[in-house]
């Protein structure tokens, strides 16, 4: 039984925001998959089903007090790493788009790193809770970096640069929120200068090419150029008001790669134009600021850090994905939360929202029950 008071404390505006973004997403996906001709496509149906499923999972996540999750943070840590290792289990793990990031559950493929992200956020929040205010020198950073590194290394191994960067962002933002000393941040930024070239050596050739392509956006010989160029054409041709929903043409006939997932924003840009695109960006901006606000309302540091982790996850995915479609960021396979087609992405995002709502509705210390 859920306490009525708790239900009352839910921030419904957050849910409304998510549902609005999701509905825009479904419309754009149906256009991207030619629903105006084909009728309701498999992708549209799957997306709605995933959302409903995600909603139920969200409710489930909300049901237990988040501090309970904190109690199990070590177990969650291990499970999350095991999830990432699951892709190496013969017969279960599969390779998609050259990356060993998926497990095949028969009916559905799941990208385990998506769920691991949630696990990582809970674990890291709990871990950092005790460190808040004590992250003053480099020595204090060693363990936090060490505990985060298995995720990042495993993801680089898959290879899934995008997800690895999501984890890095989550970790940095959470550390920052936990009070990481500005001096260390300064040193950290300086030390990036030698680290970046060094880290490039760990990247696979095709990842390097993508980064090279990003650095040289006008060189048509580099592999990402074509995708980015097509994406920019798609968005740019939307002009101010867009061609109208379902009236986009350029995203069809294979000009735009993986349009319903990674490049969904380009489809939205073509059909909804500058106005529509701006609305979507603003909705995401509001969502992020909302999360930031909710984080400040949590009753404990653990809760705040959980929300900040979710914020960091969404933040990175939004910036990377939208930035990529407009040629501001290198091309990776990171999805746009609630908008991109994909079950794993929707469910993970809903789980994350569930965590946020969970923390927020239990913001009052006086609350009892569960």
């Amino acid at each position: 039984m859920i306490n009525k008071k708790l239900v009352k404390n839910i921030d419904y505006s957050l849910l409304v925001l998510v549902i609005v973004i999701f509905i825009i997403g479904v419309l754009v996906i149906s256009s991207a998959t030619n629903s105006q001709i084909m009728g309701l496509t498999k992708q549209v149906k799957m997306q709605v089903v995933a959302f409903i499923l995600g909603f139920i999972i969200m409710l489930f996540v909300m049901y237990f007090d988040y501090s309970t999750y904190g109690d199990f943070y070590k177990v969650i840590y291990v499970i999350s790493i095991l999830l990432l290792l699951l892709v190496y289990v013969p017969g279960l793990g599969v390779v998609r788009n050259n990356a060993r990031s998926w497990i095949d559950l028969g009916v559905i493929d799941i990208q385990t790193s998506e769920i691991a992200k949630i696990g990582f956020i809970i674990f890291y929040a709990k871990y950092l809770e005790s460190k808040v205010g004590h992250l003053d020198n480099i020595k204090d950073l060693i363990i936090p970096i060490l505990v985060a590194s298995p995720f990042i290394l495993l993801l680089l191994k898959q290879p899934d640069l995008g997800s690895a960067l999501v984890f890095v962002t989550i970790a940095i933002v959470m550390l920052f929120y936990a009070g990481l000393n500005y001096k260390i941040i300064g040193i950290g930024l300086l030390s990036l200068i030698p680290i970046i070239p060094l880290s490039l050596r760990f990247l696979k050739p095709h990842q390097l090419l993508r980064i090279e392509a990003f650095m040289n956006p006008n060189n048509p010989d580099l592999p990402g150029y074509y995708h980015v160029m097509q994406s920019k054409i798609t968005i740019g041709s939307g002009e101010l008001l867009g061609k109208g929903l379902f009236k986009g043409v350029y995203h069809r006939y294979d000009y735009l790669p993986v349009q319903e997932t990674d490049f969904i924003f380009a489809v939205a840009g073509e059909e909804l134009g500058f106005v529509g695109g701006t609305i979507i960006i603003l909705l995401y901006g509001i969502l992020l600021l909302k999360l930031l606000y909710l984080a400040s309302k949590a009753k404990d540091s653990f809760g705040s850090l959980v929300i900040i982790g979710v914020l960091a996850m969404f933040f990175f995915q939004i910036v990377e994905n939208i930035g990529m479609t407009m040629g501001l960021m290198p091309v990776t396979g990171v999805t746009l939360p609630f908008l991109s087609y994909g079950g794993s992405s929707i469910i993970t995002s809903m789980m994350a929202i569930g965590l946020v709502v969970n923390v927020y509705m239990r913001r009052k210390r006086s609350s009892f029950l569960l």
Binding site: Y182, G236, E239
Partner: protein, 946 residues
């Protein structure tokens, strides 16, 4: 305050806001600032302009039978601009492999993999052409051009362009651009290299290496050269399109349905490859009337590029009419190409047609070319061509042939291989048939002719001017002596000058003028005379003596004047009156050589001297440094002709000019020059006599003769001939105000009466062919001799086979030895020139030596047959010269002419048959007979009105 800003939460908030602003700014940049640019790009990428070839106008015969139409053909197109280089490369290799394995022709890179070597196909083509034309190794285009000019006896008067045109008409197509005096392929190669910014001397291997390394093509090490060439074939074709790069390129034309289906099925594996259906020219009757219809070809010469591409906006790959009606009416038939827009997917595959005015793109429908309707009667044409082939074969084999209009017996003339027919409607001047045998199938040219096919249409023995040349329209382009067919002109002239056609003049067999005897054929062959002869009989029996009399206005037997004013000028005037010195008016190319006159005659004599001198002058002069010098010397000698110099003066002049300083030796050469040539210059009585019977320097085409016969048949209306009834939606109307040549019809009545007797008279020269023919006709046969001997196909074989006749004392093994010896000496001689070339710094000297070497090689100095000829001269004790050695060469058979009209009472058509080596004039008659029978719709058994 500062502290507040640095609150963790605020920092994150600010970052979020900054990022949102950055993203929106970027979005504004793409959609608003550059929105139009991207919109345009989106359209350009998706929407492709496809040109639509206009249907070429059709050609019909007078009854509306289709002679040239269009049929759909499958074309393989490639549109690769949406493909990344990896896919592009795979598709290029796969598609070309597929075409290769199905034996389809496709576009090629001018760099080829030739037995392990990388070479320019341009170079290979030049070498192949040279070797098939008897050159070993590379020689320059100008040398080849000049060699062929001389071989074909093309007058110096003509400039290079005119000479080239002449060659083209003769069916000699040189792959040489006259403007630059380079091989066409050489120019193509230079353009190809220039288009990549490469030096024109870049080797094929270097060029390939350069192309392979163009980064955007993405051809890495893993591709073999062979596969790289396939990829570059497509890349190069796209590059050649220049600003039309969005247009699909044509990979292969006219592929089989099987290949088309195969490619269609592989669609998914071959992104960018499409099948298109394009109309190609089709000639339903194949060879029939091919010389009139003409053929199509690629725009190739500099002139064509200038005219069609630069002035008329033709596309580089368009086919144009080259000859015949296709050529003359190119702009009428062509039509205007249109275009339409289609939407394609990212791989360049067709998605859908774009309707009109989508995105403000309007398509333009192609406008079909206009039809041309000819005056030809294709059924009559068919009869003429079948008959030509049948009777030429018969003459070739000899024997007796059964025929419904009377059996025919021929002696063998095994050089009879060619022939021509012209049939004219005498009431209108419309040409009903122009046939030339052998002919060719113009369908071979419909998508550009292959080298193999082209070679099969070239003469086997190019040195023989009368060898069969299938592309050559004998009926309109071969101008030769008409023989006795000319006698009507002589008759008309005399009657118009006052001769009574009934007056009998005694024909006494032969006339002696000076040392020359001018005999009637009856005297020459049988030592008989025609005796008292009037005009009718003279025509009937083709009596030379009678027409000798008329030509000079003399009764030679009694040595008195006939009382009429006749001379060479009169004959020439009447020949001109009957259009023999002008074009007939037909709408395809025709040659006009015309009537003889003194100048032409002296030019002919000088031409003969020139040929003679280039053969023998080397014996009398120390070695010429180069060909130019030799030609200058010859020209100098020719220029003396006007002054009629004495023998001694010629000898002195020759020595002055640099001949060996040996008076008696040089006298030999002077004698040849003076007595064999200079003394023949000028107009003599004998020339007039020859002219009267159609020998000498007359040069008429069969179509000219047909027009002249028409004017006899229709009471003197010398209509312009026409081949086109309507074109460009206009009627072609000619001859509305043609006036008859004579006020009354008496003269022509008399001539027609004589021609009636040729066919129906008891002694008529064509009687044996028309005795059983149910309708009366007028006719005249003619036989004229072709001077000279036929150059053998294999010179060496000729020399060996005829050695016992040339000099029986020469032993064949000695000859072999001597030949080898000479070859070695000559090779060493040339090698020493080459050495000298390398040793000297004198550029002028180097050029001269280069020319000399080239000249000697190309004129066959190093060939076995030339060395053998020299060896024979050296080994023999006899005074041998080329004329003596050549005397066993085969003679040309005589030209055979038949001219006639029918029906006699009310002539409807004039028919002229010409068989270049047909032997006897009468031999051409059965062909005319077949044509008369078809035209008059005669059936066997129909009773004659005789």
């Amino acid at each position: 305050m500062l502290k507040k800003i640095f609150e963790r939460q605020n920092v994150i908030g600010i970052i979020i806001i900054v990022i949102v602003v950055v993203l929106i700014t970027r979005l504004a940049n793409l959609t608003i600032i550059n929105g139009e640019y991207y919109s345009e790009k989106a359209i350009n990428n998706r929407i492709k302009k496809i040109s639509e070839v206009a249907k070429r106008g059709e050609i019909f015969d007078r009854n509306g039978e289709l002679l040239a139409g269009n049929i759909p053909a499958f074309t393989i197109q490639f549109m690769g601009d949406g493909l990344n280089s990896e896919t592009f490369n795979q598709v290029a290799i796969k598609a070309i492999d597929l075409l290769d394995s199905n034996g389809e022709n496709h576009i090629e890179l001018p760099i080829v993999y030739n037995g392990g070597n990388i070479e320019y196909s341009y170079d290979l083509d030049i070498l192949e052409w040279l070797s098939s034309n008897g050159y070993n190794g590379y020689v320059s285009a100008s040398t080849v051009f000049n060699n062929i000019r001389i071989r074909e006896q093309i007058s110096d008067e003509l400039n290079h362009y005119e000479a080239q045109n002449f060659m083209l008409l003769k069916g000699i197509k040189l792959p040489i651009s006259v403007k630059t005096m380079k091989y066409i392929n050489e120019m193509h190669k230079e353009n190809f290299l220039k288009s990549y910014g490469l030096d024109i001397n870049t080797s094929a291997k270097e060029a390939l290496e350069y192309l392979r390394n163009i980064k955007s093509y993405g051809i890495d090490e893993s591709f073999s050269d062979e596969n790289a060439i396939k990829i570059l074939t497509i890349r190069n074709a796209i590059k050649e399109k220049g600003y039309l790069a969005y247009d699909p390129i044509k990979m292969a034309d006219n592929v089989s349905q099987k290949t088309a289906v195969l490619i269609e099925e592989m669609g998914m594996d071959l992104p960018g490859v499409n099948i298109a259906i394009e109309p190609i020219r089709y000639y339903p009757n194949n060879k029939l009337a091919s010389h009139i219809l003409g053929y199509l070809g690629k725009i190739s010469s500099v002139r064509e590029v200038e005219y069609y591409i630069n002035n008329l906006d033709y596309k580089r790959n368009d086919l144009i009419g080259k000859t015949g009606i296709e050529g003359e009416f190119e702009e009428v038939l062509k039509g205007d190409d249109g275009y339409r827009y289609i939407e394609v997917d990212a791989y360049g595959r067709f998605v859908r047609e774009v309707g009109d005015s989508y995105d403000m793109l309007e398509s333009l429908s192609p406008k079909s070319g206009n039809d041309v309707r000819l005056t030809l009667d294709i059924e009559l044409q068919r009869v003429a061509e079948d008959s030509l082939e049948k009777w030429i074969n018969a003459i070739n084999n000899g024997g007796t042939y059964e025929d419904e209009w009377g059996n025919v017996t021929y002696d063998v003339f095994d050089n009879a291989e060619t022939g021509a027919v012209a049939v004219v409607d005498v009431k209108t001047g419309e040409v009903l048939t122009i046939a030339s045998y052998p002919s060719y199938n113009p369908n071979l040219f419909s998508t550009g002719i292959s080298i193999v096919d082209w070679n099969s249409l070239s003469p086997e023995n190019a040195r023989n001017p009368l060898a069969p040349r299938p592309l050559y329209n004998i009926a309109t382009l071969t101008a030769v002596q008409p023989g006795s067919v000319f006698k009507m002109i002589t008759g008309i002239a005399a009657v118009e000058q006052g001769l009574d056609p009934d007056r009998k003049i005694y024909s006494d067999g032969y006339i002696e003028i000076g040392n020359n005897s001018f005999g009637c054929w009856l005297w020459n062959d049988y030592h008989a005379k025609h005796g008292p002869t009037d005009l009718y009989k003279a025509l009937e029996v083709s009596c030379n003596y009678y027409f000798f009399n008329l030509a000079m206005g003399m009764d030679y037997k009694n040595n008195r004047s006939l009382g009429i004013d006749m001379n060479a000028a009169t004959l020439i005037d009447y020949a001109k009156m009957f259009g023999l010195n002008e074009a007939t008016g037909i709408e395809v190319s025709e040659a006009v050589r015309g009537v003889p006159d003194e100048e032409k005659k002296s030019n002919a004599v000088l031409w003969g001297l020139r040929i003679k001198l280039s053969e023998i002058i080397d014996e009398y002069f120390p070695a010429f440094i180069d060909d130019d010098k030799k030609q200058d010397t010859i020209k100098e000698i020719l220029s003396w002709a006007e002054d009629k110099p004495s023998r001694t003066s010629i000898i002195n002049k020759l020595i002055e000019l640099g001949a060996y300083d040996d008076f008696y030796f040089i006298a030999e050469l002077a004698d040849i020059i003076k007595y064999d040539y200079f003394n023949r210059i000028g107009w003599f009585e004998g020339d007039t006599l020859n002219m009267a019977i159609g020998q000498g320097d007359h040069m008429y085409t069969p179509i000219q003769v047909a027009r002249y016969i028409m004017a006899i048949a229709n009471d003197g209306y010398l209509y312009d001939l026409s081949l086109v009834k309507s074109a460009d939606e206009k009627q072609y109307i000619k001859n509305i105000d043609t006036e008859p040549l004579f006020e009354d019809s008496d003269t022509l009545d008399a001539i027609r009466q004589g021609m009636y007797q040729v066919a129906q008279g008891t002694q008529g020269t064509a009687r044996r062919y028309f005795a059983e023919f149910p309708v009366d006709i007028g006719a005249k046969t003619g036989t004229a001799e072709k001077e000279g001997k036929i150059p053998p196909v294999d010179e060496e074989e000729y020399l060996i086979n005829n050695l016992p006749l040339i000099d029986p004392k020469i032993d064949i093994s000695d000859l072999d030895l001597k030949t080898e010896e000479i070859l070695i000496t000559r090779n060493e001689e040339l090698a020493s020139f080459e050495k000298e070339k390398n040793d000297t710094d004198d550029l002028e000297r180097i050029e001269k030596l280069t020319n000399k070497i080239e000249y000697l090689i190309t004129s066959g100095y190093l060939n076995r047959e030339s060395a053998m000829r020299e060896a024979i001269k050296e080994l023999s004790d006899l005074e041998l010269n080329d004329t003596i050695i050549n005397q066993y060469r085969e003679e040309y058979n005589s030209y055979a002419w038949f001219a006639g009209f029918a029906p006699y009472d009310d002539p409807e058509i004039a028919v002229v048959v010409f068989l270049p080596q047909g032997g006897h004039g009468g031999y051409a008659a059965p062909i005319a007979r077949d044509i008369f029978a078809h035209y008059l719709k005669l059936e066997k058994g129909e009773d004659s009105d005789k």
